[in-house]
Subunit: 355 residues, 2 copies
DNA sequence: CCGCTTAGTCGAAACGCTTCGACACCGCTG
DNA sequence: CAGCGGTGTCGAAGCGTTTCGACTAAGCGG
């Protein structure tokens, strides 16, 4: 491994000059620059990231902390990651993903305190999230995807669940549906304070009552079986339902399966809208699902851009004691994409008894 | 941020002593150790990863290079990642995931040359994979998931596709199926030299002819539509088929949809086996799919363990010119898990014309 | 009681880079 | 022609660790 010394010697300049060529911190004449560049090329020189980081006190590495649970990353999360990676790379940063499990809060603190990460994006934030507290304590610049309950001191980017639900409901109501059931995440997830689940619940109630309709919500486990059970529960609570709005991307296949099992057709008998879903997943179903497409890659890009702006910003105070560090707080709506799973309700739908 | 100097001063010892307490490189008396530990606790000291890395020439960071395409990480890949992360963490390493897109070979070289990664695991290896070459050139310790065509100088862990296909076919043949169609990845994927697709193709031909049966393979695009088209093609080529073996996790939902669309029931009319699939995905379908479950987390764990063994090994030469660095080469089979999508074929299946 | 190992500690030299202060040289202005 | 601001370059002092050689004080066999 060639070092800057080697390059400097070969180019017959001082080490600092080589450094200036690399970083552009000070003006260097074209002639010198060329000599140095030539030497670097000849030696196949690559700067040592550690040394650079130590001396400059910035690693140019951004961390994306993603909880990795067993059910994997959907296309939504993936879009998010790729958007973030692209944004980071074009800002001259590396993005590393760190799969942080649930339990290791101490691990998180260590990771953040070791000064290896210039900044951090935290995904899947809960309304009350200890990880946020821990990260804030370490003083590492932080942007959230999702929001905690109190967002006053935080930067975040999140989906505009309110508007998303409102649009979805409007779409169904516009088609003529009156009896719409919302299949949310599980009761346990709701109880744990998972923001999207809670916010969509409230938004659904608001949207439905706004249309003068009765909001029926079912909590479903994140599995196909959960979806089936949810649909059964839905028919029990609202036998005359004509439309299902589902937040639970995993349960939706169970919902569809159960619908078919009951001899009901989609969208003939029941319309289905999937929320916060990627086109890829929506296309998996038969018929392809009308869905609220999440702004995945935009979300990632914006989060990183906010972080970078903070890092590269002029007077970016790291530990401002009360001083006004600018916060970036932004909501992005999902876009309605109509596919084959929604249609006007049958005008005189034959009432089927719940089996 | 407290430094070692601060700790040393507070504990009234030298800096090197603090370092020895931390690393255990040299014996330290219990009394001194306690003083130092107390000082560290009091100052909330966290070693600076950069400085440590610079001085010791090892970052204790392992990279998991994963191509992130638009269709996201399945549960299989996720299991893989979590397995790897757990193994890394218990070996005292951090695991970072780097989403490397397709094009940036130069980027890859830079990443690997910057001495920020002690070792690298590369996922989704193609039979002819330039990334492998690039990484080998940088001299960074490397373990592959998957294999290139020539594996002589490489360490890898991979799925035993041969055995997996053999078992899947045996399961179907054991049930009485004679006419089995294999739905592989797309023709383009095959042409690009994607190992799993090629190896399973060959294994399928071998397994079927071994049973005295005629192997029919269809290439399907990675989408629901691709699955539908594939099924249509399958019926065109083998109208009397009673079983489908699918490698293409994405296409399988299209296959199921098309089957239903044709009025065929699973497993009554046609049995379906999904290969290299996670239980989570298998459960999404109705009925739940009989599948060959991939050894995801074991794969990740083993890859990392092999890498760590190489790094922590006694005389681990980084650039051995011809010397025998031990290679780790291992194949893991997928496990057959029978669910609801396979059954004996109808003895006298009513022949349906292709629509 | 003498040299020899061994446990325990220290000081200083790296590690490979950034960055600060200094300085030389240039062409200008007044 | 003194003085000045700008440009281009250098040397050296860090950045926060690890690690090496050296030193001291015991402990011990002969």
């Amino acid at each position: 491994m060639a070092t800057m010394h080697d390059v400097a010697r070969l180019a017959q300049v001082s080490v600092s000059t080589v450094s200036y060529v690399l970083t552009g911190t000070r003006p260097i004449s074209q002639a010198t620059r060329n000599k140095v560049l030539a030497a670097m090329a000849e030696l196949d020189y690559q700067p040592n990231a550690m040394a650079r980081g130590l001396a400059s006190r910035r690693s140019r590495i951004l961390g994306l902390l993603m909880p990795m649970d067993e059910r994997g990353l959907g296309a939504t999360e993936t879009a998010f990651v790729t958007g973030a990676a692209a944004a980071a790379s074009s800002a001259g940063y590396h993005l590393v993903l760190s799969p942080v499990g649930g339990g290791d809060l101490e691990d998180l603190r260590r990771l953040a305190s070791q000064r290896m990460l210039d900044g951090v994006v935290l995904m899947e934030v809960q309304l009350a999230d200890e990880r946020v507290t821990v990260l804030q304590e370490t003083g590492v610049p932080l942007v959230l995807i999702g929001r905690t309950a109190d967002t006053s001191t935080l930067s975040y980017v999140d989906i505009d669940f309110d508007q998303t639900v409102r649009e979805a409901v409007a779409h169904l109501v516009g088609l003529g549906h009156r009896r719409i059931v919302y299949v949310n995440h599980s009761a346990a997830t709701l109880a744990s304070g998972y923001g999207p689940a809670l916010r969509t619940r409230d938004a659904f109630v608001a949207a439905m009552t706004g249309h003068g309709l009765d909001p029926v919500m079912i909590a479903a486990e994140d599995s196909a079986a959960g979806g089936r059970a949810a649909l059964a529960a839905a028919f029990a609570q609202a036998p005359e339902l004509t439309a299902v709005l589902a937040m639970n991307e995993t349960a939706i296949f169970g919902i569809l399966g159960e619908l078919t099992g009951r001899g009901l057709s989609v969208p003939g008998d029941v319309s289905v809208v999937s929320m916060v879903t990627s086109p890829q997943v929506a296309e998996l179903a038969t018929p392809a699902l009308t869905a609220m497409t999440s702004p995945g890659s935009a979300l990632g890009r914006i989060a990183i851009e906010a972080l970078v702006r903070h890092l590269d910003g002029p007077a970016a105070e790291r530990h401002p004691d009360g001083s006004a560090v600018e916060r970036h707080q932004q909501l992005l709506p999902c876009a309605l994409e109509v596919r084959g799973s929604t249609a006007p309700p049958r005008s005189r739908r034959p009432v089927r008894a719940d089996q």
